[in-house]
Symmetry: none
Subunit: 402 residues, 2 copies
Amino acid sequence: MEREELFRKISIENEKKIVLLVLDGLGGLPVDGKTELETARTPNLDLLAAESELGLSHPIAPGITPGSGPAHLSLFGYDPLKYEIGRGILEALGVGIEVGAKSVAVRGNFATLENGLITDRRAGRISTAKNREIIAYLHEKIKKIEDVEIGLYSGEEHRFVLLLTGEALSDQLSDADPEATGRPILYTRAKGKAAAKTARIINNFIDRLTAELTDFYPANTCLLRGFAKYPAIPSLGELFKLKAAAIAVYPMYKGLAQLVGMDILETGRTIEDQLDTLKKHYAEYNFFFVHIKKTDSYGEDGNFAGKVSVIEEFDRWLPEILELTPDVLVVSGDHSTPALLKAHSWHPNPVLLKASFQRQTLNSRVKFSEKNCVSGILGTFYAMDVLPMMMANALKFKKYGA
Amino acid sequence: MEREELFRKISIENEKKIVLLVLDGLGGLPVDGKTELETARTPNLDLLAAESELGLSHPIAPGITPGSGPAHLSLFGYDPLKYEIGRGILEALGVGIEVGAKSVAVRGNFATLENGLITDRRAGRISTAKNREIIAYLHEKIKKIEDVEIGLYSGEEHRFVLLLTGEALSDQLSDADPEATGRPILYTRAKGKAAAKTARIINNFIDRLTAELTDFYPANTCLLRGFAKYPAIPSLGELFKLKAAAIAVYPMYKGLAQLVGMDILETGRTIEDQLDTLKKHYAEYNFFFVHIKKTDSYGEDGNFAGKVSVIEEFDRWLPEILELTPDVLVVSGDHSTPALLKAHSWHPNPVLLKASFQRQTLNSRVKFSEKNCVSGILGTFYAMDVLPMMMANALKFKKYGA
């Protein structure tokens, strides 16, 4: 029996509530002997850790550094090597576009073309207002190419999403992006015959957009990449009978959550806003995914102190979450983003799981840290097993087999 | 290379003896700070643990609570998600029926029908003697339906096994069991056309049995469930070149052992009886599975003290097993059955492995407990890897690859 078939078979609905708190890029590496998590003063997390099960999880497998897409799929209980999610899809979902089975989504940048060469891949980071103006203009000018409908949606600054909808479209296309300045427009190429029509339409679109935007310098051409069809992922409802909601600030994480069937709750930009949203909707769902982004952002910037400060800020808000008394609470990351590496890394995630039926009895003192998680009662496991463990602890799984 | 193919390729025969002692449902959860195993006074197990390798095993995967079938398959070295064993097969094997490829085995209950409604799903738990009498009577009356032979076998109290043998039979049938009293007889339904013939025969059987038993109140109808064909599982002999014997008291565990090709040794009902059987047959086999049931029974009853007492009783007999000086000895559970939950659970099994070639050096003092197994030298792993580890420690595995 396949893993997903098993979940469908054994999952049951009940009233118990699960809260998954994800500090993006939480895991780190030591600088002056201590990781970001070890450096942070986290009295509330430490108290919680003393009565929780601890462990470490590999986002994908030992040694594999994940992007946000596979890392989150894994946290949501899916085998991250089974489903591939194109970046175009993530962007599209993030800006709230409904993407169907007949669509191909594409990430677009406005860019600057001078004397036949791309001179700025971000068109001087034009304002989002300007972006909207250009998109509105293009929307009137380019509605259809051959039999394919053209959808255009503004993102922030120079970013937009292109959505093609029609028959026999493919996402097997190379990026139309020279990835450097001083080069001419790079057209897409079809990877195989089945993508020839889509390639023709995309390249025609680039030419028409460029022709339309002659008066819009510096935004007078575009780069297109991350061609992606909608992946057929069963929802958390189908697999686990969960009624799930996401409280995330950034488009990509909303997109990921929506992809697995979560409702996206409107929220503000701070951790406080996110917790207010959690409280407000607490009665309506039995699974909450709360995504805190800034740990990762600071990690990527190499800002060790900044990442420490976000962990400490989260720690100050933790008691308010505990007051909701969720039946199962997990605090973890989607992957590690050590400030030392200024990038995502392969190091496993610290995992804290608090529930009623656990072997862990109260520890007098334990710091929530990567090192203490190594010797935790959960051991080291795959992140895709976190959700099954939460299900078990919420008594939402029946016995398998007689 | 597939796992089973690997085992076939690298396993060799030698004289070394392996003893697998399974305390059913051994793992627990703390009550007043200690699990059943932590509470039990186990001086002999603790002495053994101090010179053994310890670890924890997931019966199926993190978070998955297994039934006895998949949990034992896993302990016997099989991927428990690869083979599904219907309950009917287990029951049939347990009462010693030979089931072939053309048969479908079914669990039956005698039940009580009054004014067209099922009023007792167990027919007042009639005596086993009465059951035998009814089965003998029915055996004369219903020998064949269409071209299908009808086999009937008494179980204990109200239970029996129905065995259909004939061409083109299927086990893709819904249970013929309303699962509640106050409802009429529920007939089976075929899940697909290929099962139509079997469904017809089963429903005809229910009608004929009910017509024959009008004078046998309270056992005047039946419920049928767990329709199952024989799964094609390679034997422990084929995969591991083991000559294996099972010493188990309860039918289901004998059935499971037989399914993987073990000889079932006649034994009595106490741990002492089982050990006598082990000693008596010790020269004849190189693998012994000894199954102790009562830890699980007390766990299921929520009887913490009862479960503790079985562990302590086992501990008193342990020195006699050690006197046999098996080359590899494992003490573990098939799954956890915490008295706190009164049910099987997903918590991993404590595992103790004693052999000659291990890294563990003598610990002055270690209690055999779930918590000490967390930090054991074996780490946390999947239960289906226990048998390969036993094989390795018995030097029954060759090197893989050059």
